[in-house]
Amino acid sequence: MYESNGEKYFVVDGHMHYWNAAPDNWVPGAENYAEGWIKCFHAYQGLGPPETHWSLEHFEKYSEDDLMKDVFEDGYVDVAIFQPTYLKEWYKEGFNTTERNALMGEKHPGRFVYNTRWDPRDGDAGIEQLKRNVDRFGSRGAKLYTAEWNAGSRGYKLTDPASYRFLEAAQNLGIKNVHVHKGPTIWPLDKDAFDVADVDHVATDFPELNFIVEHVGLPRIEDFCFMATQEPNVYAGLAVVIGGLMHARPKFFAKVMGELLFWVGEDKMLFGSDYAIWEPKWQVEGFVAWEMPDDSELSDYPRLGVAGKKKIMGLNAAKLYDIKVPDEFQLPAGSGTPGAQEVLGQEQPVAGS
C-alpha cells in the first residue's frame, strides 16, 4: 500500500514479470532474436530515472528475492498480476511462463494473481493446456500476445476463427479478463502491425469478457482511444505509459493522460509497472504525486484527483479480479466521476472529480 498526504492507496500492479532472459536460456540458432529482445526491453528501462537503471546482466536474470523486494517491500504493491510472455521460439524455457511465475508465487500466498495465456495456432493441444492451466492456477485472466512467433507463423489476429474458438473455451472455463498486447511483426507484414481493430471486433462479440489493451495500444493510442470509448468492456493497461513517458517525456505524458482520461475515463484505466522493465517504486510515487500541468494546451483535458488515482492504482483491477480490498482503501460511495466520454458527435461537459 502507499500513503501520501493522508490518503491510502491500495496498489495492484496489473502487469509485471518474472523472466529469465540470460544467455543460458537462449535457443541455439535464435540468439540474435533472444538477445535483441532483451536489449530492446533494457533500452526501455533507459527511459526511467537514472538511479533506477540496472546493468544488462542483472536485467537479463534477476532473483526471486529481487522481485519480492522491488515489488512488495520497496514498491508499495499489495497484489501483483503476473502477465506471462512465452516466446519459446527464442527462449528454451520461455521468457516468463505461468509455470515459472507460479513456482515463485506459491511461496508467497495471496500476493500474486497468475494469468494464463493461449495461442490459437496450438489447436486442440492448446485447448487442453488451457484447461489444465485454469485448473492448476485458478486463472481468471489471460495474456495474449498476438505478435508471438509460432512454427513459422509471425503472428495472428484475434478475429481469426481459431482465436474465437479459444475465446469461447476460455469464457466457459471462467476466464473473465483478456489482456492483449500488440507488438511488432504481425503477419501479414504489409499491414500495420500494431492495429487494434481486431480487439474492437472481439470486444463486441464477447460482451461478457473484459479486454485490457496493454500499453494503451501504444504506438496507436489514437485508434485505441476511439475504440475504447465505444466499447464498455475495453480497458487501458497503463504499463509503459507511466514507465516510458512520465519521467522521460513529462509533457507528452500529460497529453497522453489527458487523452486517456477523456476517451477512456478513470474507471477503465489500470496501473502496471511492467517490472522488471521499470521498478514500481518511482512509478507509484510519481503517479500519485502527478498533477495535470496548468499549460493552456492542456486546459480542456479532464483532471485526475485522489479518487481517480485510487481507482487507477488498484481499485479498478481489484474489481476485475475480485481482489478483497480492506475498507480503509475503498472510496466512499459516489466519489469521483469518470472523465467525460464522448457520445459520438456530442461534446459532454468535463465532469472532473
Partner: protein, 235 residues
Amino acid sequence: MTEPLTVAGPRALLEALETVRDPELDEPITSLGFVASCTVSADGDAQVSLRLPTYFCAPNFAYLMVADAYDAVSALPGVRSTSVILADHFASDAINGGVAAQAGFVRSFDGEAVAELDQLRADFLRKAVMAGTDQVSRPLLAAGADLLAMTLGQVPPSRALARLRERRAELGLPAGDDAPLLIDPVTGVPVGAEDLPLHLRRARVTRVSIEANSGICRGMLRHRYSTPGQGETDQ
C-alpha cells in the same frame, strides 16, 4: 565560364535524405537521427547507413525508409551507384537485399507479405493529415475562427499549413486555396457541423499519438546510439 557540376556533393546527399520521412512519425529520417552516415565518392558512388531505435522496429516502415532513401539518393544527378544499408535490425538482410535488388516488399518478405506498402503509406499519410489538421486548427480556434467555413487559402501561411497541404496533395485530397480546411481524410468530404467536435478531438489525439511515439523513438535511439545522426535535430 565554369563547367556545370556533375558530381553530387555531401550537401546534396543530405538534402536528398531530408526528403525521406519515417512514415509512422511523419518526420525526416535525418532529423530523427536515423542516418548514421552518408557519403558520396568523387565518382558518384553513394553509400548511406541507416539505424533505427530498436532491433525490432516494424519491418514494413523500415523497408519504406530504406527504399525511399534509395530512390531519393539514386535520383541525384551525378550519383552513379547507391547503397543503402540498415544495420542492427532483425530483418536487415531481407530489407537491404530486397531494396538493392529493387525486389519490392512482397518479394523481400516472401510468404509474409501479400501486398506492397501503398496501403500502409496511405493510412499513415491520413494520420499525418489529421495530426496536421490539429496543428493548424488549434491557433485558429484560440483566435475564435469559424473553422467550418474556412478554406486553406484563408489560413495564415505557416510551415504546418504547408505540410498539411503537401500531405493532402500526396493523397490526392483537395489541397488548393479553395479547398475546405476540414475534410474527411478518407473521403475528402467536407466536415459538417455535427461532426466537428469529434473530428477535432480525433485530430488532436492523432497528433498526441504521433508526437508521443516520436518522443519514445528518440529516447530509445539515444539509448542505443550515443552519437547523433547526420542532420539530427531536437524534437
